[in-house]
């Protein structure tokens, strides 16, 4: 019975965390949709087929070579992180011992005690900053190739949805800018 209650408690905490993620994603999706004014016009080729990013292979397929290289890369990352943290711990403990021996020779251990009290916070701060530095840079860049064909296809989609007689909208301004860049006459009704 106690075990079941413990499992329920763990699942409840996990549900709270998952709920936080869900709300964060929903709020992000809602705010991004309201800023852009709905779905952007689809990029299509001259034949009307939707453009797709070329992919380097199916995500569902398994490859032992790629998988093993991924495992080795993960192990290497773990090794590097372990070494960094271990060295930091060793460094701080050696520094603490050295300060203790000199401070003890001078006047008690007031300074070293303060240093030892701040040690966990320093390690935690180092860890959090390292985590931020390593994760924030892992952003994927999505780019599409803009050609004459895609521009013409976008024109078809844009003129169907944008009211040219109304005040200039951000989309209209952006599209007219792109047309000027390629020296194409912007269509006006």
């Amino acid at each position: 019975m106690k075990t079941i209650l413990k499992i329920i408690a763990i699942l409840l905490v996990a549900a709270v965390v998952a709920g936080g993620f869900f709300l964060a994603v929903n709020n992000t999706s809602t705010s991004s949709d309201s800023v852009e004014g709905g779905q952007p016009p689809a990029m299509t080729s001259a034949s009307g087929q939707p453009m797709e990013r070329p992919e380097g292979g199916g995500e569902d397929s398994a490859s032992i070579t790629r998988g093993l290289s991924g495992v080795i890369a993960t192990l290497a990352k773990l090794t590097v992180i372990t070494i960094i943290v271990w060295l930091a711990q060793k460094g701080f403990s050696l520094l603490g011992k050295r300060k203790f021996s000199t401070a003890h020779a001078r006047n008690g251990a007031a300074m070293t005690l303060k240093f030892k009290r701040n040690l966990p916070l320093i390690i935690m701060l180092t860890g959090i900053l390292s985590l931020l530095a390593l994760t924030m840079g892992n952003q994927k860049i999505v780019s599409y190739t803009v050609t004459m064909e895609t521009l013409q296809a976008t024109q078809v989609a844009a003129t169907q949805t944008i009211d040219v007689n109304s005040q200039a909208s951000a989309s209209t301004t952006a599209l007219s800018g792109i047309y000027e860049l390629f020296n194409i006459e912007y269509p006006t009704k």
Partner: protein, 171 residues
């Protein structure tokens, strides 16, 4: 629970984690089901260390500047990132939810979150492992290396012929 059980569970979890973070090794279907199994193993791991979790939670601010509090913070972060990985993985799941007869129309952000949370989990696992390095190395030596070493008997050194020693009792 004994230390040996803990060690076996932790090593199994580590192997499963390594495999799950590399879906190219197993394919998407096994990756998803392995992730679900890993969630169960994580819950078991938390149950085995339940007493420690409760004890440190209750006395967190009494002895704030202590190694165990740093462990607690790192473990909490690990729990958050792992939960994020599991939940986002379920949201973008193709095999697991299809087996359960559930279809979700979700935002593309979930895939980014899944990648971010799994990368963060790897980093925090490194920190978690480093903070428990002494326990891991001691118990791997005790329960794995030494038993294997004892399987191979050492070669006995050449026994020298014992020479009789004469003790002079003249004086």
């Amino acid at each position: 629970m004994s230390t040996k059980t803990n060690l076996v569970l932790d090593l199994t979890m580590f192997g499963a984690f390594l495999t799950a973070t590399n879906p190219h090794l197993t394919g998407n279907t096994i990756h998803e089901w392995l992730g679900v199994s890993l969630a169960g193993v994580v819950i078991t791991h938390l149950l085995l260390h339940w007493d420690w979790i409760i004890k440190v939670s209750k006395e967190f601010f009494k002895k704030f500047l202590h190694q165990s509090r740093l462990n607690f913070v790192v473990n909490t972060l690990f729990f958050v990132t792992m939960t994020g990985s599991f939940f986002s993985g379920l949201m973008i799941s193709e095999s697991v939810l299809a087996t359960l007869g559930i279809q979700l129309d979700v935002s593309r952000s979930w895939k980014s979150i899944h990648t971010l949370m799994s990368d963060s989990s790897v980093i925090i696992l490194g920190i978690h492992f480093a903070l428990h390095l002494k326990w891991v190395t001691t118990n791997i030596g005790r329960y794995i290396v030494n038993p294997i070493r004892n399987l191979f008997p050492r070669s006995m050194p050449n026994v020298m012929a014992v020479q009789p020693v004469r003790i002079n009792k003249d004086k």
